[in-house]
């Protein structure tokens, strides 16, 4: 039922939103326009005019400089992080919600406190641990800390969802002779689909965007990720602004496609991270 009070125009919020539209729109539009022209045409037109020449040549240039490798490495880290965090967090959240033992309660409190640990701040000891484990300069060195530092929020989201599964259902299944693993896979996982996708979005985006872990733990340029590749390009493409803009644009394409084809899912996932 549409309410009259929420349907009336809201000038103040509408005005601020219009300003924000320009603030967001102009940089994104400039990025696209600049990325699709040549260096010379960009220089002739200047930053505020529409260039005269249009080309897709920057795509080839960016790919020639190894962008596909960066994509591949980023995809490996993203998928690896999502899988590892689900394998660790789903059973843990289930135990935290179902188990009566003090271990489960204490673990939950530990994860709650863990929410406050800033990953950047412990980068020096992580560097020590990663090098001692012999993982320096591997993608695993990025996956492990990414999963660890998203784990508290992931467990919070999942255990919130599992608490809402009615207790009677667990008891009914136990009476029917289902083991805890079966309850977990055949009832808990399907019933908390919404939260599991929120978790995938959150961990996936964190991994996709990770910067400081690959910055510190990866040296070999062929093993680096898209974010670090952009930093490399920022230095290499010193005056070739269209080339750099195309690299920035390409770095966002996979997430952008996800937004176009699965917008509801992506937005619901992001909103789910903020909790109720």
């Amino acid at each position: 039922m549409p309410s009259t009070s929420t349907a009336r125009p809201n000038w103040l919020a509408g005005g601020l939103s219009a300003v924000w539209l320009v603030v967001v729109g102009v940089p994104i539009l400039s990025m696209i326009v600049w990325g699709l022209t040549t260096e010379q045409a960009f220089r002739d037109a200047g930053p505020l005019a529409v260039p005269q020449v249009w080309t897709l040549g920057n795509v080839t240039e960016v790919i020639d400089r190894g962008f596909l490798d960066y994509y591949w490495n980023t995809a490996v880290v993203t998928v690896g992080s999502i899988l590892l965090s689900l394998v660790l967090a789903v059973p843990a959240a289930y135990a935290i919600v179902r188990s009566k033992s003090w271990v489960a309660g204490a673990s939950f409190r530990m994860f709650l406190l863990g929410l406050a640990i800033p990953a950047q701040a412990v980068i020096v000891p992580l560097y020590l641990i990663i090098t001692e484990m012999g993982l320096y300069d591997t993608l695993i060195a990025v996956i492990l800390p990414t999963v660890a530092f998203t784990l508290p929020l992931v467990i919070l989201i999942l255990s919130g969802a599992l608490r809402d599964v009615p207790r009677d259902m667990y008891e009914a299944m136990t009476l029917d002779g289902a083991g805890s693993l079966r309850i977990l896979l055949s009832a808990v996982v399907p019933m908390s689909r919404g939260s599991i996708s929120a978790v995938c979005v959150f961990v996936g985006l964190t991994a996709w965007n990770s910067f400081i872990f690959p910055l510190i733990f990866i040296r070999d340029e062929s093993k680096t990720m898209v974010t670090l590749g952009l930093r490399e390009f920022q230095q290499e493409f010193a005056v070739d602004i269209p080339g750099l803009m195309m690299a920035v644009l390409l770095s966002a394409v996979p997430v952008f496609l996800l937004y176009v084809f699965a917008r509801r899912w992506l937005i619901a996932g992001l909103a789910g991270v903020g909790g109720k």
């Binding site: 603030v23 033992s101 980068i123 999963v147 784990l151 005056v239 903020g274």
Partner: protein, 285 residues
């Protein structure tokens, strides 16, 4: 049930142990390879006397405050507006949320080029806002405002999304009742919408404040901490002490300060807002 153990062990190795180690390493000297030497309180004595640390702490707190003051009103306004049911809002919201799709690194590289005084729009637009040569990044206050602006550009969409979701859940009967009582939109915002959004304000503020304390890529890629240290926030100072000067012990001391500040902030917000009382809807059944 052993289901919780793998997650606990994993989290202990990669988060809890580093947290303890960062304090331990702050009493040592280590260049990043070879032996770690015990040096007692040396790093801490140096830290207390270090002008740069004091300056960095001030900049970090100023950045956090500016971030909160700019992003919270913007995010609430946009979130509440986008929660309306009109059709055009769905299309506009799609554009609003576009920055969410880009990484911090991509956004930083993008704005770094926009702000270039030779090629970017800063050249033409800078003079209009008080930078005649377009060199916004060359001045201390300009560079600071750039970091505040870029992080708002990046994060306002996410916080708007939280407020939008929460504003949609405000029961419409509350507004209908207020309309019958003759309340104006302004009154309704302060008396109905904002109180109903209070938990979201807490969640969003914690994420915003802790996030801004650890801003790193934006500073590294846009200003490099400059000019003259004007944007050298604590995480950046720690990074350059550890991985540019290879003084890992001293970097750990700075990191310890950062951990303490971040933890203090989140504990304060959580304590004063009753956040921990928020539980499942089925609690106690």
């Amino acid at each position: 049930m052993g289901y919780v153990l793998p997650a606990v062990v994993f989290f202990t190795v990669f988060a809890v142990v580093p947290l303890v180690l960062v304090v331990v390493l702050s009493f040592t000297s280590w260049p990043g390879f070879g032996d770690i030497r015990w040096t007692g309180l040396d790093n801490w004595e140096r830290l207390i006397g270090d002008e740069r640390v004091r300056e960095s702490t001030g900049i970090t707190l100023a950045l956090t405050a500016s971030t909160w003051l700019t992003q919270t009103p913007m995010a609430i306004a946009i979130g509440v507006w986008a929660a309306g049911r009109q059709r055009n809002r769905a299309v506009l919201s799609t554009i609003f949320f576009l920055p969410l799709l880009m990484s911090s690194a991509a956004i930083a590289v993008l704005f770094h080029r926009f702000l270039d005084p030779n090629y970017g729009m800063a050249r033409d637009l800078g003079p209009l806002i008080g930078f005649p040569d377009g060199n916004i990044l060359g001045t201390a206050h300009g560079a600071f405002l750039v970091i505040v602006f870029v992080s708002a550009w990046q994060w306002v969409p996410f916080h708007s999304l939280l407020y939008q979701a929460a504003a949609r859940n405000v029961p419409t009967v509350l507004y209908d009742a207020a309309t019958i009582d003759g309340a104006g939109r302004w009154d309704m915002f302060w008396r109905i919408t904002l109180p109903q959004l209070r938990y979201t304000v807490v969640t969003s503020s914690v994420i915003m404040i802790v996030g801004s304390l650890i801003t790193f890529e934006t500073v590294l890629l846009i200003t490099g901490g400059g000019p003259g240290g004007a944007t050298r926030i604590l995480p950046y100072l720690m990074y350059s002490a550890g991985f540019e000067a290879f003084e890992m012990g001293y970097a750990s001391a700075i990191a310890t300060v950062l951990v303490v500040v971040a933890t203090a902030f989140s504990l304060l917000i959580v304590r004063f807002s009753g956040f921990t009382k928020m539980r499942s809807t089925l609690e106690g059944m």
